[in-house]
């Protein structure tokens, strides 16, 4: 199915504050996400649904690590995309990782392979 290759299409994800926010801040706090991956082109080679590992187990065991870096943060963090069920989970985890809390508003965006800035959430999570 066409949504299988989600992780492999995105080369870089960035989280940033909404553009034009207030005009007071010239620099947005940005978060960069880079797919670490696991090296292999797994999903591209196997037939759909093979080997017969049920989707619940597949989601639990396969890991797709993404390196997250944020402007001003002293060190990078790693997060496993596959452990989240959807965008809301994922975004909440990113908030928790960097202690962003409710006060900070941002629009998650990412840069796709064509170099265009894309709004996170349009492509089905899977």
């Amino acid at each position: 199915m066409e949504t299988e290759g989600f992780g492999l299409e995105i080369t870089e994800l960035r989280l940033g504050l909404p553009s034009g926010g207030g005009g007071e801040r010239n620099e947005k706090t940005r978060m960069f996400l880079d797919i670490v991956g696991d090296g292999s082109d797994r999903n591209n080679e196997m037939a759909v649904g093979w080997p017969p590992v049920c989707s619940y187990r597949k989601r639990t065991i396969t890991k797709l690590y993404v390196k997250v870096s944020m402007d001003g943060a002293p060190f990078l963090r790693k997060i496993d995309i596959n452990s989240f069920r959807g965008y809301s989970d994922f975004v909440m985890a990113l908030e928790n990782l960097f202690g962003l809390g409710d006060t900070s508003e941002y629009t998650p965006i990412y840069e796709d392979k064509d170099g265009d800035w894309m709004l996170v959430g349009d492509v089905p999570w899977r």
């Binding site: 292999s40 080679e45 649904g49 093979w50 080997p51 049920c54 187990r57 639990t60 989240f84 959807g86």
Partner: protein, 581 residues
């Protein structure tokens, strides 16, 4: 004499009949027995929710207290059934709330359950006791909150491998303080963190709690608190089994586990920190079931654990156990009935672990009671399969998945026909079989000839021609469920064995060679079958007769064509008076 016994006596006799099979049999004896039985049947099992409909159920069984329904075909577990296909429980709940206000139990598998359904259950059944949802989806934690808030007499909330929209962990706080009847809580498949104090208070006020399976979010540091509040637990699933190493946490855990004298079943163990493993060693010798299939524990630790589990009957584990670990199982677990070995890295061709066919051969030799096997591996040989078959003729369920499709015997490069043939020939009570590897029509000839008790068969990337399918359909007398993917089976075998399909629950075929025209013909010939063509690529009303269908799901039914089909599903042969194409 028209009656040998008064009705009350017969009813009393019937009350000892617990299996659906027995009750179905007595209801066929004569009309009066049919009538009597239907009035006193309390538990109903419906293996395919579309084989009947709520109206049929209600008309026949007016006093139902417990219902079990299954929805989507098994291959839905592997993403082969498109989303939106069906399996909605909604209409069933609506009817049952109306007609069975005293309903106590609902058990669903592979069904779509909405939050609204859960609300209806919570509010509609005053004496509701058991909710079991296995591999279900369509609901969120809001639905669980409705169950928690409304079901005053709930005993069992068992969620297994469900896809739940996890809005928050707050649902658990909806159980009222007066609620004390909980016996089983399985929330392992939920993601979000529940309030620990709510969980703690719930456990503390549930003296009958025997089964508790936590989710990953419950931290290890909190486990001993819960175990100390519930030393009567029989089955327990940990959350994430990791924490910074601390002697305090460790010793509390040791004490807590040893306090659980009735503990027989352990699961959970996500994200294991090996230093904490010995904390549960004291329970190992009492365990009858151990599920480490989500635990990334490697071999020496794993072997250490299983070598203490002398009473183990069921073992679920990842292939990290390797052949050496399985040798240990063969030496120690003499009471083993069921073994499941799952792949740790299924999508990589090269082996990441030293697990081969030898491990399975070893267990088959050492464990005399072994009946059920699920085994994922990367190589297999006919000689190994023959050994397994000869060692263990008492096998009733044998599911082997060699990761690479069409992989031959790695020693001889021959197909694995003879090996699987040996399995069906020796294991005369075999009820379930899943095959993999390189297989020709030959293996199907063996199966048709020998597998007389076979109930369910799963086939993938196998066979050469229609003959293969014909052997199975014409030879397997007890066959009820057949699922096939990526095999060169076409129209001939299917049409020649059309009447066989009425004796089965269902047949699934995907990526095979069955033509659209044959499906139409089958649907027209067999009014008691729903021949569903599932095809997302094409417009189902302009597909040509000779085109092969993408997916096909055939099942017997007394309910006719279902009314909830999406646009990529069409039931053949029923609407053709309007669409002659």
């Amino acid at each position: 004499m028209t009656h040998t016994f008064p009705e009350e006596v017969l009813e009393h006799v019937f009350s000892f009949l617990n299996t659906q099979h027995d009750r179905n049999t007595v209801s066929l004896v004569c009309k009066s027995w049919y009538e009597m039985e239907r009035w006193c049947r309390k538990r109903v099992f419906i293996g395919n929710c579309y084989a009947v409909n709520p109206r049929v159920l209600i008309q026949r069984f007016p006093e139902v207290k417990s219902i079990e329904l299954k929805g989507k075909p098994h291959f839905a577990d592997f993403n082969l059934v498109p989303e939106g296909w069906g399996g909605y429980v909604y209409d069933w709940i609506v009817e049952m709330v109306r007609v069975y206000p005293m309903l106590e139990e609902i058990k669903l598998k592979r069904m779509v359950v909405s939050d609204e359904c859960l609300e209806m259950i919570g509010k509609g059944f005053k004496y509701f006791r058991v909710l079991s949802l296995v591999s279900c989806d369509g609901f969120s934690t809001d639905g669980l909150a409705a169950i928690a808030a409304n079901c005053r007499n709930l005993r069992v909330l068992d969620l297994r491998e469900c896809e739940v929209e996890d809005l928050s962990g707050y649902w658990m706080s909806h159980f009222p303080d007066s609620f004390t009847s909980l016996e089983c809580l399985n929330m392992a498949c939920l993601n979000s963190e529940v309030s620990f104090s709510a969980l703690e208070r719930l456990v503390a006020r549930s003296p009958n709690l025997k089964i508790l399976r936590l989710n990953r979010a419950v931290p290890l540091e909190k486990l001993s608190t819960l175990l100390q509040l519930a030393p009567q637990l029989v089955e327990f699933g940990t959350g994430a089994y990791s924490a910074d190493v601390s002697t305090d946490v460790y010793s509390s855990l040791v004490a807590a586990f040893s306090g659980c004298k009735d503990l027989k079943d352990l699961s959970g163990f996500w994200d294991v920190v090996p230093a904490y493993l010995p904390a549960f060693y004291s329970v190992c010798s009492r365990l009858t079931c151990l599920n480490l299939s989500y635990a990334t524990i490697k071999c020496p630790d794993l072997t250490k654990i299983v070598s203490q589990c002398h009473n183990l009957q069921r073992l679920l584990v990842l292939d990290y156990i390797e052949d050496t670990g399985l040798n240990s199982v063969a030496l120690t677990c003499k009471d083993l009935r069921e073994l499941r070995v799952f792949p740790s890295d299924p999508f990589v061709a090269d082996p990441n672990v030293l697990l081969t066919e030898e491990g399975l051969v070893s267990v088959s030799k050492g464990c005399p009671k072994l009946q059920s096997v699920l085994y994922f591996c990367r190589q297999m040989s006919n000689s190994a399969l023959i050994s397994i078959a000869q060692n263990r003729p008492n096998l009733t369920c044998f599911r082997l998945c060699i990761l690479e499709p069409r992989a031959p015997d790695y020693l001889t490069f021959e197909p694995l026909d003879v090996g699987f043939g040996s399995i069906v020939e020796n294991c005369k009570d075999l009820k379930r079989l899943s095959m993999s590897g390189l297989l020709t029509d030959r293996v199907f000839e063996y199966i048709g000839t020998h597998a007389k008790k076979l109930d369910m068969l799963s086939i993938a990337f196998a066979g050469d021609s229609d003959l293969g399918l014909h052997y199975v359909l014409s030879g397997c007398e007890s066959l009820r469920k057949l699922e096939i993917r990526d095999c060169p089976f076409g129209d001939k075998a299917l049409l020649a064995n059309a009447s066989k399909l009425e004796t089965m629950r269902s047949l699934w075929m995907s990526s095979c060679n069955v033509s659209f025209g044959a499906c139409k013909l089958l649907g027209q010939k067999m009014p008691d079958l729903n021949v569903e063509v599932i095809d997302e690529r094409e417009n189902l009303y302009s597909i040509s007769e000779s085109d092969p269908v993408e997916k096909l799901y055939i099942y017997r039914t007394v309910a006719g064509e279902r009314s909830d089909m999406p646009n990529f599903v069409r039931t053949m042969g029923k609407d053709d008076m309007y669409n002659l194409s």
